[in-house]
Amino acid sequence: MAVAVSVRNVKKTYHGSPSIDALKNISFDIHHNEFFTLLGPSGCGKTTLLRLIAGFEDLTAGKLHLFEQNISHLPPEKRPVNTVFQHYALFPHMTIIENVAFGLRRLGKTENEANTAAEKMLELVHLDDFATRMPKQLSGGQQQRVALARALAPQPKVLLLDEPLSALDLKLRQNMRLELKRLQRETGITFVFVTHDQEEALAMSDRIAVMSAGKVQQIAKPDEIYETPANRFVADFIGDANFYDASIVKSENDVTTYQIGNGVHLKGPLRPNMPDNAKVTLFVRPEKISIINFSTLELVSGEIKDIVYLGSSTDYQIELNSSLSIVVRNENQQNGLAIAKPGDKVSLRIDPTSIRILESENS
């Protein structure tokens, strides 16, 4: 697979008092025709990395290649990439069509050619009727689509998107996710998408790079990121999870029994090459656990403390012992009635294969 963007040993330090290492030696590849997402909390360096690729900031060290061309020190206007800005950054003194044609005009197209191409782009984002309006006459969602059309019009080799949906309300955001996916498919352009919204990242991406504190924590497909996070940071940042510090009690066949608290045991997979009595961190997603109303010889049981109704599902906070609790998520399949009430004693079925063992955080 062709490499669209190659990031090699990239460092970025903002000098000042104190100096800030925004990116600490990052290396990875973004493939051609890929919807690639940089995901992380604010201050993790994801936007810095995007701005480095766009050319708005200078590298402190390392190299950036775009389809094997070294772009490390090119000015932004020499890089065949375009950016969709968080707050759109439409030129307020130009009409919509002038905005969209701006890049094409700079690339030497005549006014006619540029306008024809710009009109096509506006059609693609369903805004062909708005060509002669001014940006401030459009709603936020429409402005966002103009920003998309403007960035796509010059047919960049890579499209950079800096939290483009964060200023929109929820319904619009969900529609725009589909729209972005469709545009990426139809144009075949590599998208590099920056977001702090894990749901957005999971929904749209081919691959996700989870970042924290200037480092890449994990790069993988959405389901791999969710199911087999590389470390506690990733597991905690993506989705909800129960975490337990555990020690090994015994191993037999393929199942290891872990003690996670006074008298509470969990059965999970064996981690290879692990010394006896090793301390590990276990985690299990709330929706992987089922509540069983009748008492059996199940390994784990407890008392329901709290119930949080979430619409499509319900969260049960269950106390395992005085210092240990677990969250279980149950789909509201029937008529939305809770399957238990606070104070009920319940047993839990936890499939050993749904329990994950984490390495300590990569920092």
């Binding site: 950054a89 890049g103 700079r106 960035a151």
Partner: protein, 295 residues
Amino acid sequence: MINKIKQYVGIMPAIFVIGFFMFIPILIIVTYSLLEANPYGGVNWNLTTEAYTKILYERDLFDEISFNSAYLVIIFRSIWIALITVILCLVAGFPVAYYIAIQPPSRRNFLILLITVPFWTNLLIRTYSWILVLRDTGLVNNSLQVFGITDTPVKLLYTEGAIALGLIYTYIPFMILPIYASLERLDVKLIEASRDLYATRWITLRKIILPLSMPGIVAGSILVFIPALGAFIAPELLGGGQKLMLGSLVQLQFSSARNWPFGSALAVIILIVVMLALMLYARNAHKNNSEGTIH
């Protein structure tokens, strides 16, 4: 009703200030311009348009009038020098305003303070200092001769150039400050977006930064043009009274020429030119508002 009264009470100070310091003086000037001159100063209370006639025509001993361009030349010279001042203030002031606007916020305020430093000294003294710099034995000419660039002094003082220089020096802060205000509000992302869309720095300046700072440029131009048109100190001291401008001409009428109506009529002419400039500005501002605001 009570609210209405309260509203009027609230704007009374504004009405009083504008009425007392603007409308009444203008009324006096317009009235005087339509009266007969008293040869000993002041006016005789007879209505006449003689003062306005004098701008274009002269009356000879036999009471016949003929066209006289002397005052028109002064009026156009004043407008010309004021325009040159505006243009050069813009050319010199814009980069300064831009430089200040791209500094970190903490430094910006300090630099703005520096722009206002000249105001701390009396204008007359500052203009006199320019005489020391520009005269035949002044700083510039001495330096030119020491370095062997010229043998004889270059005539710098008492030229139109010296007047323009003095005016630029005096009024450039009025150009820098409004442009700075416009540029400071300019979203940096727009500049990045322009560069991202393959525009060089130069194209970005022309297509994005200049159009979006136009309100500041227009405001600055007017703030420089108005006082430059009626300026008195710089033309008098640096022009040596040889190249008369409107300000000096008006002053002359109220002092040695003792023709108050003519002085008033000239002041009315300045007022009309200024009003025309402001109307242009208003039209421009209206156009800008209907096109889009700057974020």
